[in-house]
């Protein structure tokens, strides 16, 4: 017994000694560190009150400092919002990066958006919440409407074209067109002819003449203005004009998602000028896409039925509340009872009706254009012919073969309202010719002036969402991929 007693006493003393030595060692080692830790704890408590579980400004700041200065505010929003708005934030970041010439950032951003668009969110807790009667649709992680998804693929495709990766460019335009098949009405399925045309262009540049011809033919069937490019054309020019469609809500409880044309801008056509001096070439580009048409012809969404059900339930509760209050009060008065019971019951039902939230999600990609114009040409000198052995005939050059040592010339855009020239030069065009073909992409309006936060977000819901441990862990994993 004595041995056990001594052993237990020994363990207790050793434990206490080790604990006190740990504490005293910390004190002795660095009192400044202790003060700093205390100050940090106080700061974290203040941030916790403001930002919930995080991430906190110091962590976000450390992350954004590693990014290009002009993109930092967008990266800040991306990092803080986590998975909730990842697709939307990636899309907006991608477009800004593309405009400012940070192509590596743009490629990664659009890949980030597309990877999420392509993944199935089955059994997703946030998606389930969006269908709950008492939760808003905005609870779900954003994936966008088909026209927004298609545009993410479109921009990624252009970035592939810039690098000369025609296979993946074609895959992107194909996947973009596939998004258009979501349309409820058959008439509007696969009517985004520009995407078919761009598939044709990617095939043309990849040397797949048969596939290119098929795509150009299909595109022309949908939109007769889209004529197939010349067999030797090697430069694609695209410019985007105006402001894209806007999401809004309609209905008694804002349960209907509707699309409205974006802010009216004067420009509706453009003339591209290539080269300088004697080599200058200018021609008007062909209107090839209208984004408002694409957004507004999509037809009903599956979630619309759920939101409509929520709205009807809310309306039913409100009617019941009014009936219980009015009829119950009258009945009680006639019967000589206490009307307060009926009024109380009516108020309870009324309060419950207020908790039913059918409002549609209006988060949107605000930097999109209203229209896209397109044109192609042949640029550059003699075509690089394959070396010919002595005594053999030279083989004629294939279509879109690379001219010798060519590069995309200086490009400028002049925007017009019908035939009237406007004082509008647009952004500095993106251009590149890594492969056989070159691409020029421009916009009449810059996205650099847009706020870093996407419109339509619900900050209260976003903050509430972060308190869910599972969601927080998912966001942490997302942030880890960004760092």
């Amino acid at each position: 017994m004595k041995i056990v007693h001594r052993l237990a006493t020994g363990i207790a003393v050793a434990s206490l000694l080790s604990l006190s030595s740990m504490a005293s060692a910390q004190d002795a080692v660095d009192p400044a560190a202790k003060a700093a830790a205390k100050a940090r704890a106080k700061q974290v408590a203040a941030w916790k009150a403001q930002y919930g579980p995080g991430p906190y400004p110091d962590e976000v700041e450390a992350f954004v400092q590693t990014r290009e200065e002009r993109l930092r505010e967008y990266y800040r929003v991306l990092y803080y919002d986590g998975e909730h708005n990842a697709v939307l934030n990636f899309e907006r970041l991608g477009l800004l990066s593309m405009e400012l010439g940070y192509y590596a950032d743009a490629e990664k951003a659009f890949d980030g958006a597309l990877d999420r668009i392509e993944a199935f969110y089955s059994k997703d807790k946030q998606a389930e919440k969006a269908t709950s009667a008492t939760r808003l649709e905005v609870n779900k992680d954003f994936k966008g409407e088909p026209y927004e998804r298609a545009m993410a693929y479109y921009y990624r495709g252009l970035l592939y074209l810039r690098k000369g990766d025609y296979d993946n460019a074609r895959a992107s335009f194909k996947a973009a067109e596939y998004q258009d098949t979501v349309s409820g009405e058959e008439t509007f399925q696969s009517d985004f002819a520009l995407l078919t045309y761009l598939q044709g262009w990617a095939s043309h540049c990849a040397g797949d003449g048969g596939q290119a011809a098929d795509s150009f033919e299909q595109a022309a069937k949908v939109d007769a203005r889209l004529k197939a490019p010349g067999p030797n054309d090697n430069l694609l020019v695209l410019t985007e004009v105006g402001a894209g469609p806007v999401k809004a809500t309609d209905g008694q409880y804002q349960e209907k998602l509707v699309f409205r044309p974006g802010t009216a801008m004067p420009e509706n056509s453009a003339i591209v000028t290539l080269g300088t001096g004697k080599t200058t070439r200018a021609w008007p580009l062909t209107p090839a896409a209208n984004l408002y048409t694409q957004a507004s012809t999509r037809g009903g969404r599956a979630i619309d039925g759920i939101l409509d059900g929520k709205a009807q339930f809310k309306s039913g509760l409100e009617t019941t509340s009014a009936l219980v209050t009015n009829i119950g009060t009258r009945f009680s008065e006639q019967m000589g009872g206490d009307a307060l019971y009926a009024q109380g019951a009516g108020a309870v039902i009324g309060m419950f009706s207020k908790s039913v939230r059918p409002t549609a999600d209006t988060r949107m990609w605000d930097g999109l254009p209203s229209g896209i114009l397109v044109g192609t040409t042949r640029w550059g000198g003699a075509t690089a012919a394959p070396p010919v052995a002595k005594g053999k005939k030279a083989v004629p050059a294939a279509s879109a073969a690379a001219p010798v040592g060519w590069s995309v010339p200086p490009v400028s855009m002049a925007y017009r309202q019908d035939d009237t020239m406007l004082e509008l030069t647009g952004i500095k065009p993106m251009s590149g010719n890594a492969g056989k073909c070159g691409v020029v992409w421009a916009r009449s309006r810059s996205v650099a002036g847009l706020p870093p936060q996407a419109p339509g977000n619900n900050a209260k819901i976003a903050l509430e969402r972060k308190k869910d441990k599972g969601v927080w862990a998912k966001d942490e994993a997302f942030r880890a991929t960004l760092r």
Partner: protein, 211 residues
């Protein structure tokens, strides 16, 4: 006895605090990265080619190719170029084609055991540079000696990735048939000495809120 109990209780609590204290203080809610089996379906999935398909496809193609005597049972091992330069992606999925050819080359090299030789053209610049240094006398000739020229190839792996997408707008179900078709092209005669096809047919539906 009473005293012994107090001391024992203190010892247990003390020990517990010593062991668990730092662990409790360091508790955080972040998720550690997890290792996943590359041959099993991952956490995130869609209808396209995924990680697990690559291993299965390569296994099937290697078996198929090794069973072809024209390629795998020649007295002199054939020289083969196996890279992605002539693998066309005509599907609707963005993909780095190298991931397919690298997987296939790795498995084929393991299975061939000298019955095939693989010629690298991807890094020919590095080869040419070293050959120039050797011939200029900047470096010695190495241990394998000098050759008149770099290896010419007998065959080249060529092929296509194609896909067919369909969707049921009533149910939100999406389906994609992806076909990876590879062929061994005789670089002298132009004939195809082997063809292998791997098909992936995958369907799924996104949550109702995204349809």
């Amino acid at each position: 006895m009473q005293k012994l109990r107090h001391v024992a209780t203190a010892a247990i609590i003390g020990l517990g605090l010593t062991v668990a204290g730092p662990a409790i203080a360091k508790k955080d809610r972040s998720h550690q990265a997890v290792d996943l089996d590359p041959d099993q379906r991952g956490i995130v999935s869609g209808v396209g080619i995924e990680g697990q398909d690559l291993g299965r496809m390569a296994d099937q193609m290697v078996r198929d190719l090794m069973a072809n005597p024209e390629v795998s049972n020649r007295a002199t091992p054939p020289r083969i170029i196996l890279d992605s330069s002539d693998l066309r992606n005509q599907s609707s999925q963005r993909i780095d084609k190298d991931i397919i050819t690298d997987e296939l080359r790795g498995k084929l090299m393991g299975a061939a055991r000298g019955k095939m030789r693989f010629v690298s053209r991807e890094f020919i610049a590095a080869v040419e540079q070293e050959r120039a240094l050797k011939r200029e006398g900047v470096v010695d000739s190495g241990t394998t000696g000098l050759t008149r020229a770099t290896a010419g190839a007998d065959y080249k792996l060529v092929g296509k990735i194609t896909s067919l997408d369909s969707r049921n707008n009533d149910t939100g179900m999406q389906e994609r048939l992806t076909v990876i078709s590879l062929e061994m092209l005789d670089l002298e005669y132009g004939t195809l000495v082997w063809n292998g096809t791997y098909k992936i047919r995958r369907a799924g539906a996104d949550d109702v809120v995204y349809r």
